[in-house]
Amino acid sequence: MSIFEYNGSALVAMVGKNCFAIASDRRLGVQLQTIATDFQRIYRIHDKLFIGLSGLATDAQTLYQRLVFRHKLYQLREERDMKPETFASLVSAILYEKRFGPYFCQPVIAGLGEEDKPFICTMDSIGAKELAKDFVVAGTASESLYGACEAMFKPDMEAEELFETISQALLSSVDRDCLSGWGGHVYVVTPTEVKERILKGRMD
C-alpha cells in the first residue's frame, strides 16, 4: 500500500461567484481500521485563506504547523495577511525544500485574493503547483472526485448552490472509496462570512 493511502483522505475545492467552497471527509484510518471520525483536514490560515492537506496525517499536521508559523511571522513583519497566490508560492517552496525526503501530503489551497477574487490551487507532494479556474481535488478518492466534479460543476454558482454541488460531489465520491468517508466537512467562504457545515453521509 502506498504511503499516501495509509490514512485515507478526500479533499475538494470549488470556485463560485465571488466565493469559494472547500470540503473534506472526516475519516482518519490506519490502513483498514478507522480510528477517528472527526478528523480535521482543512485549516484556516486567515478569514479569506484556507488550506486542506491530504495524505499522511502526521505530515499534514506538521506541515500545517510550519505554515501557520510562517504566516504569523509574515503578518507581524508586513502588517497584512498573505494573499492566496503568495501563500501558494510559499507552500510550494517549503515542499520543494524537502525534495529528496518529502512531506507525504497533497495540499489544496483556496482563498479570496485581490478584490475578493476566488483562487484555488493544488500541488503534488514536492510543490508542483496546479492552478485551476473551476475545481481542484486531492486524496485517495481523487479519481472519483474528478469525475463527480466534472459532471456537477457549473461556473458562477452562488454560495448556497455551490454548497449543494460540492457536498454532493464529495459524498458520492467518498462512497466509492473505502479509505475516506464518515461524513463531510464543508467551508463556504464569501467576502463577508465563513459558513462551516458538517455533512452526514454513509457512516462507513
Partner: protein
C-alpha cells in the same frame, strides 16, 4: 575627552553611550557628495551630485543611482565601494523574497533587511561599519515611499531629506519648498533647485544624476539629456 580611548574597537561602547566608529562613519557620510530625495504625491525623486575627480574621467561609466528592483532605486552619500557592496546584498535579498513569495518585495521589508545588514557590521568581530547613508526610493502597494538608512542600521521614512556635504542648507531649503500635494515633475524641479543651492561650478546633466519612479512603478535614472531639459525648465 574619554571617548577617544574607546575609538579602537567598534564593538565597545564609550562612556558617553556612543559607538564611536558609527560616529566616524557618519562623519564620512557628512563629507560625501550631497544627495537628496523628495516624495511626491504620485512618485519619488532622488538626486545626487556627480563630481568626478578629473575631466578625463568617462562620466558615462559612473552611475551613482542604482536599481535594487524594478520598482525600488537607491542613492548614497559617502564611500562608493561600500555602496556597491550594499547594493549587491540588497538585490540578492530582494530576489530571495521574490523566489519565495513570487511577489515583488515591499519597500519597507527591503529597507529593513538592508538596515539589518548594516547593523550586523556594527556588532561583529573584525569588520567596520559601512561608510554610507542610503536614500531608498520605491513605489509599491502602499504608494510612493522614501527611506533613509544610516551606518548604524537605523532607518527613517522621509517626505524629503538630504545627506552629505550641504545637508543643513539643503534640508532648510526643502523644508521651505516641500508641499504634501507636490506632483513628480514639481518634485524634480525642487530637487534640482536644492542641488543648485550648494553647487560649486556650473550645474549640467553631466554632473548631477536624477532617478525617478512614478505611478508606472518603474524606477529609472534620467539620461543626461533629460536632466538638461529639466534644468532648462528651472532656469
Amino acid at each position: 575627552m574619554g571617548d577617544s580611548q574607546y575609538s579602537f574597537s567598534l564593538t565597545t561602547f564609550s562612556p558617553s553611550g556612543k559607538l564611536v566608529q558609527i560616529e566616524h562613519a557618519l562623519t564620512a557620510v557628512g563629507s560625501g557628495q550631497t544627495s537628496l530625495g523628495i516624495k511626491a504625491a504620485n512618485g519619488v525623486v532622488i538626486a545626487t551630485e556627480k563630481k568626478l575627480p578629473s575631466i578625463l574621467v568617462d562620466e558615462t561609466s559612473v552611475q551613482k543611482i542604482q536599481n535594487l528592483t524594478p520598482n525600488i532605486g537607491v542613492v548614497y552619500s559617502g564611500m562608493g565601494p561600500d555602496f556597491r557592496v550594499l547594493v549587491r546584498k540588497s538585490r540578492k535579498q530582494a530576489e530571495q523574497y521574490h523566489r519565495l513569495y513570487k511577489e515583488p518585495v515591499p519597500v519597507t521589508q527591503l529597507v529593513r533587511e538592508t538596515a539589518t545588514v548594516m547593523q550586523e557590521f556594527t556588532q561583529s568581530g573584525g569588520v567596520r561599519p559601512f561608510g554610507v547613508s542610503l536614500l531608498v526610493a520605491g513605489y509599491d502597494d502602499k504608494g510612493p515611499q522614501l527611506y533613509q538608512v544610516d551606518p548604524s542600521g537605523s532607518y527613517f521614512s522621509w517626505k524629503a531629506s538630504a545627506m552629505g556635504k550641504n545637508v543643513s542648507n539643503a534640508k532648510t531649503f526643502l523644508e521651505k519648498r516641500y508641499t504634501e500635494d507636490m506632483e513628480l515633475d514639481d518634485a524634480v524641479h525642487t530637487a534640482i533647485l536644492t542641488l543648485k543651492e550648494g553647487f560649486e561650478g556650473q550645474i549640467s546633466g553631466k554632473n548631477i544624476e536624477i532617478g525617478i519612479i512614478g505611478n508606472d512603478r518603474k524606477f529609472r535614472v534620467l539620461s543626461p539629456a533629460e536632466v538638461d531639459d529639466y534644468l532648462q525648465e528651472v532656469e
